[in-house]
């Protein structure tokens, strides 16, 4: 049963990717297609980040452990969409023209923090296998707490690139803060009850 559920989560997670491919090849992206792809992949990165962070709170709330079994798949899709997002910007938009890209990373704080978030995702993706969990033992947990920093970086990236006060970036920021606040509660409980 759990196996099928995990497979369904995997298949569902590929849908945004298929949608953007469809839109690219059938020319459905409007007058500024590259920007559309950038925004689309960026937003889905944040959505998957929120989903990944929701699994352990859901486990607490529902008393079902099945949620955490989706975490690895969802987390890897965060990396997948973040990489697509980065590739759109570096490859499709700037044609691997490194000078302006390096300029952006150094001078623009939203790009700097977005790029930092992607870099921090790499060790998490590399150490996501069961083998690695066993190998790293307690350190694995510590390492994977990086996702909290990544989440904050990701939502700041969205807020800082917005022109004025916009609704959507703030919503993501609030969701991420709420999800992180859950952790503090869980931790306290652990401390209190051993």
């Amino acid at each position: 049963m759990q196996k099928y559920l995990k497979l369904s989560v995997f298949i569902l997670s590929t849908i945004p990717f298929l949608v953007i491919l469809y839109k690219i090849f059938l020319n459905k992206l409007g007058p500024e297609p590259v920007k559309e792809i950038t925004h689309f992949t960026g937003e889905w990165t944040l959505i998957f980040l929120c989903l990944t962070l929701s699994m352990s709170p859901l486990k607490r709330l529902t008393n079902l452990s099945v949620w955490v079994s989706f975490r690895r798949t969802l987390g890897l899709f965060v990396f997948f969409y973040a990489t697509l997002h980065l590739l759109t910007y570096v490859g499709l938009d700037y044609r691997f023209d490194w000078q302006p890209i390096l300029d952006d990373v150094v001078k623009k704080k939203y790009i700097f923090i977005g790029f930092a978030a992607w870099l921090l995702l790499i060790p998490l993706a590399i150490t996501s296998s069961k083998k690695m969990v066993k190998l790293l033992k307690n350190n694995w947990k510590k390492l994977h707490r990086l996702v909290y920093i990544i989440a904050i970086f990701g939502s700041l990236h969205y807020i800082w690139l917005s022109k004025t006060i916009f609704f959507k970036p703030l919503i993501y920021f609030i969701i991420i803060i709420v999800l992180l606040a859950f952790r503090i509660k869980i931790k306290n409980r652990n401390v209190n009850y051993g």
């Binding site: 992206l29 007058p31 302006p100 623009k108 004025t164």
Partner: protein
């Protein structure tokens, strides 16, 4: 996607043929004044001079009065009322005047003016506007010797413009120019595009267009033009003085804090088209560079 009826627009191929026809019969000193207006086909790389489609020009707009998304202005401006409309020219002038849209269209002849539009966000279009030089309109008043700047005020009507119900910007939209910039023949009062009446989402009934400055300098739906002594604070300067300066000349060497200004994406060129290099003063340097002689454009951005 939104479909247009064929009857609603002049087909672009006919439109373009008409232009070459007008040129071929040699209306050299005609009201079209082809020779005096720097058309985009003058010594510029190909691709830059291709007219943007009517559909893209009228469905992809930054016009926060009607919403912050690019497709909002088209969707939310359909019922916007532009009649009656009056423009007041006031401030540091000997005798302020008020002109109705009817009076304006009687007084001034609109001609076709094809200009490039460069948005501060890093995209560009080529638009066949209809309009006349702002200097013609401003010559109807006599500014006092205190007048140094011209301020433009857009309409404030939250009942019709739902974007104005939110404090996204300091409404009404406000922009400004130095008097010599405002009097420059390239600074245009726009009344139409593609040979048609100006659509609401593009700033009907009357907007300003300054081809060598970023798009946001060109205020839409103007109701007031005011001569002032001190440099006005525009809505965008108010929102973020660090990001938006008073001059806002297109300048590939001065980066916006969030966007590189060295290159731009041409609207309508599709997903695989590369960016093109942005030109100093949006390619109008020959005409306007002398306005800024001796000025540090990095400081006065």
């Amino acid at each position: 996607m939104i479909k247009f009826k064929n009857s609603e627009i002049t087909p672009e191929n006919i439109y373009k043929n008409r232009r070459s026809f007008i040129k071929s019969i040699g209306l050299s000193a005609s009201s079209l004044a082809i020779s005096t207006i720097p058309f985009v086909n003058k010594s510029l790389a190909s691709g830059r001079d291709k007219l943007t489609s009517y559909k893209d020009i009228t469905t992809y707009n930054n016009y926060y009065e009607f919403g912050t998304s690019k497709s909002d202005p088209y969707r939310n401006s359909k019922t916007f009322k532009t009649t009656p409309w009056e423009i007041s020219i006031e401030g540091e002038v000997e005798k302020p005047i008020k002109l109705s849209m009817e009076e304006i269209s009687e007084m001034f002849v609109s001609e076709e003016r094809i200009y490039r539009l460069r948005c501060v966000e890093g995209w560009s279009m080529v638009i066949p506007w209809m309009g006349f030089s702002l200097s013609e309109l401003l010559s109807k008043v006599n500014p006092t010797n205190k007048a140094k700047f011209v301020e433009f005020e857009s309409v404030y009507d939250p009942a019709q413009m739902k974007g104005q119900r939110y404090p996204v910007l300091n409404w009404p939209y406000n922009e400004g120019l130095r008097i010599d910039e405002a009097m420059h023949p390239l600074t245009t009062v726009v009344t139409g595009l593609y040979g048609k009446k100006l659509p609401n989402q593009n700033g009907a009934p009357l907007r300003i267009f300054i081809p060598w400055k970023y798009g946001f300098k060109s205020a839409k739906a103007i109701v007031k033009i005011k001569f002032v002594e001190n440099m006005p604070t525009s809505s965008w300067m108010w929102a973020s003085p660090r990001e938006y300066g008073f001059y806002s000349n297109v300048n590939p060497n001065v980066n916006h804090p969030r966007w590189s200004q060295a290159t731009e994406r041409v609207i309508g060129e599709g997903v695989w088209a590369p960016r093109i290099k942005t030109l100093m003063f949006n390619g109008y340097g020959d005409e306007v560079a002398n306005l800024y002689t001796g000025m540090d454009l990095k400081k006065y951005f």
